[in-house]
């Protein structure tokens, strides 16, 4: 109720009422409220009585006395400053979000000589003792990051120029007592990839340069073929074209002091039509890899003089799929199996392709097939006893006859969340099954016979790495960077360790 003539109010109550009236009546609420609040604070501090207009309101609401503190210029300025500050915060905040930051946590654990090796979210490889689950801090590679100094584009680069995220996505590769790993870090859109090799026993770097750095993203696992380390990348540095490469690195050569070690280490690189996010599959002396441009390449790895100046001549054949390919190809019995972003899944025959009679999108009707699934395929397929198990980002799990591509389950299986990594076969009490990691949370145990879900490993975190099944236990590296072990029998959690610091999970 507005104060009227003859109505006496105590100063503070009067002031409150005055403010309320101003809020109701004035257009500039922010400034008005601020002004009234300040007046009230001032009176409280200095114990002074309110000014005259607060004590005597002898005129009706709407008259001049009721808007004493409403100074349009001041209020408008305050509103302008408020709007500008809010706008600034709202517009700058997204720059600090994770859209540009590689998160990692996709590396699967590898068990070798009683230790787990896993690429963590800090761009390092962690070594964890399999028996005790304790983190090996003495292994010297623990301190080696794939990128020693992340690129910086200054203050405006990304959230104050601070490198945000340095991660290993690919599962480490162990060959002849040496561990190879690759990852990348980004500041804004400027990315720096790194590959390193360490002695498995000591963790000491094998290469003099310690890390081979290339200005790109390295996502997929490394592969070794014919003594050559092969991996895929996105576009390199500021080059506009091409959008991806396959790099071949000599793991043995070492440059003399003063010679560019990277120049010596890199044997060749093959340009592709898209980012190469998946690990190459190697069979014989040929690397097969897919690109986000939708092509599957077969590239000769031979150290031949004829390729010296023309690496593009290494291309043996190329297949054009209907969508982007990020799933690592699976090679089984002379066939290549892979899915794409159009929801298609393919089986290509290596012999038919190598003959040169097929190109582009054509399929050999007698030895090749294509089938449809519900969503994009990112995970590598799993082949078991003549059956292919294919999982999708929509959570679908399919069983196809390896020879014909015919679906074997009446209805596809389904898990909650996207499936990014290849499932692992596991023996469950109810029968043979596969452990399917879910990008939303948990690992699902899916029956091989019907696609029925037998149970779940409750990881309480997204899982984007392949579960490792070993001697009755299932080991899972979560996207959050925890290595958890579960009993394959009752699916209960047995241990958990953080792959970044080594501390036990809470």
């Amino acid at each position: 109720m507005p104060p009227g003539p003859g109505r006496r109010l105590r100063p503070r109550a009067l002031a409150r009422e005055h403010i309320a009236i101003e809020i109701r009546s004035a257009g500039l609420s922010a400034g008005t409220i601020g002004g009234a609040r300040r007046a009230r604070r001032h009176r409280r501090r200095h114990r002074t009585p309110p000014e005259t207009p607060y004590r005597t309101h002898s005129t009706a609401p709407g008259s001049s006395n009721f808007s004493r503190t409403a100074k349009p210029g001041v209020g408008a300025r305050r509103f302008a400053v408020f709007a500008v500050v809010t706008l600034t915060l709202l517009l700058l905040a997204p720059a600090c979000l994770n859209d540009l930051t590689p998160q990692g946590g996709w590396s699967s654990p590898v068990l070798q000589d009683g230790y787990f090796y896993v690429g963590n979210k800090d761009g390092r490889v962690a070594r964890i003792e399999a028996q005790s689950g304790s983190f090996d801090h003495n292994w010297r590679a623990t301190n080696l990051q794939v990128v020693s100094a992340a690129p910086s584009t200054g203050f405006l680069g990304s959230c104050g120029g601070v490198p945000r995220g340095q991660a290993i996505y690919g599962t480490p590769l162990i060959e002849d007592g040496t561990l190879y790993a690759a990852g990348y870090a980004c500041t804004g859109n400027d990315c720096e990839g790194g590959v390193f090799a360490v002695d498995l026993a000591t963790g000491d770097p094998v290469w003099r340069e310690q890390v081979v750095n290339i200005s790109t993203k390295i996502v997929g696992k490394l592969a070794m073929g014919d003594g050559t380390l092969v991996f895929g990348t996105a576009e390199v540095g500021g080059e506009d074209d091409p959008p991806g490469y396959i790099y071949a690195i000599d793991p043995v050569a070492d440059a003399a002091v003063g010679v560019d070690p990277v120049g010596v280490r890199v044997k060749w690189r093959f340009a592709a039509d898209g980012n190469v996010y998946s690990a190459p599959a190697i069979s014989g002396n040929v690397a097969y890899f897919g690109t986000t441009g939708g092509s599957l390449y077969a590239v000769d790895l031979a150290d031949s003089q004829e390729y010296l100046n023309r690496p593009e001549d290494r291309l043996l054949w190329k297949f054009e799929a209907e969508g982007a390919i990020t799933a690592p190809p699976l090679i089984e019995d002379g066939q290549i199996y892979f899915g794409d972003f159009s929801g298609s899944f393919y089986s290509l025959n290596i012999a038919a392709r190598s003959g040169g009679g097929l190109s582009g999108t054509a399929l050999d009707a007698s030895s090749e097939w294509k089938t449809e699934v519900d969503d994009w395929v990112w995970a590598q397929a799993l082949a078991l006893d003549g059956i292919l198990y294919v999982s999708t980002l929509g959570g679908g799990v399919y069983a196809f006859d390896q020879a014909s591509g015919r679906p074997l389950w009446p209805e596809p299986g389904s898990v909650e969340g996207q499936v990014v990594a290849q499932p692992s076969p596991v023996e469950h009490v109810r029968g043979p099954a596969i452990a399917v990691p879910s990008g939303k949370s948990d690992v699902y145990i899916v029956s091989l016979a019907s696609g029925e879900i037998f149970g779940q490993l409750f990881t309480n975190a997204p899982v984007k790495s392949k579960p490792l099944v070993e001697e009755g236990f299932i080991y899972v590296h979560t996207e959050g960077g925890q290595l958890k072990s579960f009993s394959a029998g009752d699916l209960t959690e047995r241990s958990c360790v953080n792959t970044r610091g080594g501390e036990k999970c809470e």
Binding site: G27, P72, L100, T292
Partner: protein
């Protein structure tokens, strides 16, 4: 919080991502074109808001003579007089239904769009593997563009997902300048003239501060968002020009478009009413006067002379 996240995704992000990608599919796989067409569509949706805003601006300008009269009346520097002036000014605004900082309205309304678009661009052309994998969840099942991911984000020599500051010279400088300049023109067209020095000062601050800030921010934005803001401003200027009565805008002393450009500037019909002091029991009825003015304007200057006679009688 999870609910808010879902709400944000379903109301802003998914429709935006699907619109952008669908347009990409329809417009020859060109992400730049899809952003520009998306901008046009968004501005068309916001036209009612801008029309309303323009009307407010024009009302504000109509109030100027009365504002001036008020200032003349309370031109003393005493606290009492300044307070009286403020109160009377506020009452004038209130009665006319004018918000003196209302020119920020379209800007404020567009803020969620900008923020959502910032995220939508980065999600539609994700720079990380996680982002690419998560993009499948953002697509509607019927969107044919889901099969053509990843999108090519190159446009006019820029990567639309990369920050403007990383664009090649001179685009990295040109885009912020164009964004700031176009915003300044738009702000200038939308800011009402005022005789209140305080309000004029505020308007002046806003006129310069926002464009300068946005020009600076654009360096930090993905180039695609810079393109959106630039075209949004340009379309806004065009819309403002037409719904604002095709008034020429004066920039650094020159009129655009000039009178000789083939398009004669049309002065909107309005009459300036001298300030009449009102008592509490005789409040001005702005709506009634507006109607009367509108009627008289159609009959030329007759209304002005009769009003003069009436004022003389008083």
């Amino acid at each position: 919080m999870e609910f808010l996240g879902i709400l944000w995704d379903e109301v802003f992000m998914r429709p935006m991502i699907n619109s952008l990608t669908l347009l990409y599919d329809l417009l020859f796989d060109n992400f730049g074109l899809s952003i520009i067409v998306f901008t046009v569509l968004m501005r068309l949706l916001l036209i009612p808001l801008q029309v309303r805003q323009t009307r407010q601006t024009m009302k504000m300008q109509e109030l100027q003579p009365r504002m001036k009269a008020l200032q003349d009346k309370y031109k003393g520097k005493s606290r009492e007089e300044r307070q009286q002036l403020s109160a009377e000014t506020m009452r004038l605004y209130r009665e006319a239904g004018v918000n003196p900082v209302g020119c920020l309205g379209p800007l404020v309304i567009q803020m969620p769009i900008w923020i959502a678009l910032y995220r939508a661009i980065l999600r539609a052309v994700p720079p990380t593997p996680e982002g690419l994998a998560n993009l499948s969840e953002a697509f509607y099942w019927w969107n044919p563009a889901r099969a053509i991911v990843p999108l090519n984000s190159d446009f006019a020599g820029m990567d639309l997902v990369d920050f403007v500051q990383n664009a090649p010279v001179p685009l990295n400088f040109a885009l912020p300048v164009l964004v700031g300049g176009s915003m300044w023109v738009q702000q200038k067209m939308m800011t009402p003239e005022t005789s209140d020095p305080r309000q004029a000062q505020t308007n002046q601050i806003m006129l310069w501060m926002m464009p300068v800030m946005f020009g600076f921010f654009t360096l930090q934005f993905p180039a695609g968002l810079g393109i959106y803001i630039l075209f949004s401003n340009l379309i806004g200027v065009a819309i403002q020009y037409f719904i604002g009565g095709r008034k020429p805008i004066t920039i650094f002393g020159r009129q655009f478009p000039s009178q000789g450009d083939g398009q004669a500037a049309i002065e909107p019909h309005r009459t300036i009413e001298p300030y009449e002091e009102k008592t509490d029991d005789a409040k001005p009825d702005i709506r009634r006067k507006d109607r009367r003015r509108g009627h008289r304007s159609r009959s030329g200057h007759a209304g002005r002379s009769s009003r003069r006679r009436r004022n003389n009688r008083r």
